[in-house]
């Protein structure tokens, strides 16, 4: 029984309540940095780390948090983990840190993290909070990777991961740069959502 609930909590974040496609929170960062697959990987890992750690800590100390000042406490917990990510990226991956820039400190106000702390971890056991954090993080990362994949492949004609080209479209294809630029993010996301809507509508019909 324990195992199934853990799996259920994980799956819930990943599919049923996918933070980006279904709940539509935390959109800003996902659109801004998804112009490269590599950015998506780093941002996904950073956010998942913050989400999991803050979920665990908040679930662990929830009995001692006074109700009236819970939001500032959540924010302090989240801000400490964001600082860890900020300094770690700056020290070990300076080029990535340059590209992600202000988005790392902005994880503090990323709605996903605070929403999970307030809406879930504050009332859950440590184990479920861990599963929830992992699931939500995985859901976020997954959408980010799909967007990064589409935008980088269509926009530059190839995929580059850690300085290695892993996929290339044949030369007659002339990559439209719009996909790696700003409007491309909106277009890609709109099309993904429309596809999802269509899929859902089909399912209801059946």
């Amino acid at each position: 029984m324990e195992e199934t609930t853990f799996w259920y909590e994980f799956k819930k974040g990943f599919i049923i309540e996918n933070p980006l496609m279904v709940l539509m929170v935390g959109l800003c960062s996902s659109l801004a940095i998804s112009n490269r697959l590599e950015n998506g990987i780093f941002m996904g890992i950073s956010l998942t780390f913050v989400l999991v750690m803050s979920n665990i800590i908040i679930a662990a100390i929830r009995r001692w948090i006074p109700d009236q000042i819970r939001i500032p406490i959540f924010i302090i917990v989240i801000a400490s983990f964001v600082t860890i990510v900020d300094l770690a990226l700056k020290a070990y991956f300076p080029p990535v840190y340059d590209r992600l820039g202000v988005w790392i400190p902005l994880i503090v106000v990323n709605c996903i993290v605070l929403a999970r702390a307030e809406g879930y971890a504050y009332k859950a056991t440590v184990k479920n909070a861990l599963a929830d954090g992992l699931g939500m993080g995985a859901g976020y990362t997954c959408v980010l990777l799909i967007m990064g994949f589409i935008r980088e492949l269509l926009g530059t004609g190839k995929l580059v991961l850690f300085d290695v080209t892993i996929l290339k479209i044949a030369p007659p294809y002339n990559p439209p740069a719009i996909f790696i630029l700003f409007p491309g993010a909106f277009l890609t996301f709109a099309c993904l959502m429309a596809l999802l809507n269509r899929y859902k509508a089909r399912k209801v019909e059946q």
Partner: protein
């Protein structure tokens, strides 16, 4: 570069060339969530302008007179800035409620939302802490320059929010393919607007 011209460049850069919503994707949640009516958009834009200006002033003072002299800015800027913003919003809400009930009715409901508005934290971080600003201007912001930058960002936010709301009001009566109803069509419009704003790129060498 003469002083007035530098101010002008900072302002224009923040307002149009690096527009916070359409070019940088910061604070998309209110763009999609609040911008269904022109009236609410104006209220939101005014509140953001108000809070952002105060938040940047407070963050600038904290950074230059407390964090930097003590040499702890690198580790503590995230929690300090977010706490400044959160308490400032709370304080502003109480103050307005007491002093001017009409103003509170106009702005009140947006104030709590603004704490988690990434734009406020982003503007404060960029104009106060070196290393995040993307404008092509040498960074050493004095307080007036930081304020000009922030006001530019806030007005850019308001401008786009209001344009967007006008378009969306018209959309309600137009025929839209079923799958694109709601959020997807809003993203398509954002893509087109973003394309228009990209026309400002490289203006005046920014």
């Amino acid at each position: 570069m003469n002083e007035a011209y530098r101010y002008f460049l900072i302002f224009l850069g923040a307002l149009l060339i690096y527009n916070i919503l359409l070019i940088r994707f910061i604070a998309l949640c209110p763009l999609i969530g609040v911008s269904t009516q022109v009236e609410t958009s104006i209220g939101m834009a005014m509140s953001v302008l108000f809070v952002m200006t105060m938040a940047t002033t407070a963050s600038w003072v904290a950074w230059n007179y407390i964090l930097e002299p003590l040499g702890v800015g690198e580790f503590l800027y995230i929690p300090v800035f977010i706490l400044i913003i959160a308490s400032l919003v709370q304080f502003t809400e109480m103050f307005i409620k007491k002093v001017s009930p009409p103003l509170y009715r106009a702005m009140g409901i947006y104030l709590p939302l603004i704490t988690t508005n990434c734009a406020v934290l982003a503007a404060a971080t960029e104009s106060v802490k070196p290393g995040f600003l993307k404008l092509n201007i040498p960074y050493n912001f004095s307080l007036p320059e930081a304020l000009i930058y922030t006001i530019g960002v806030a007005l850019g936010f308001g401008l786009v929010l209001i344009i967007f709301a006008c378009i969306r009001e018209r959309l309600e009566t137009s025929p839209i393919p079923h799958s694109f109803k709601g959020a997807p069509i809003a993203f398509i419009i954002a893509a087109l607007l973003s394309l228009a704003f990209m026309g400002f790129a490289n203006l005046l060498g920014l």
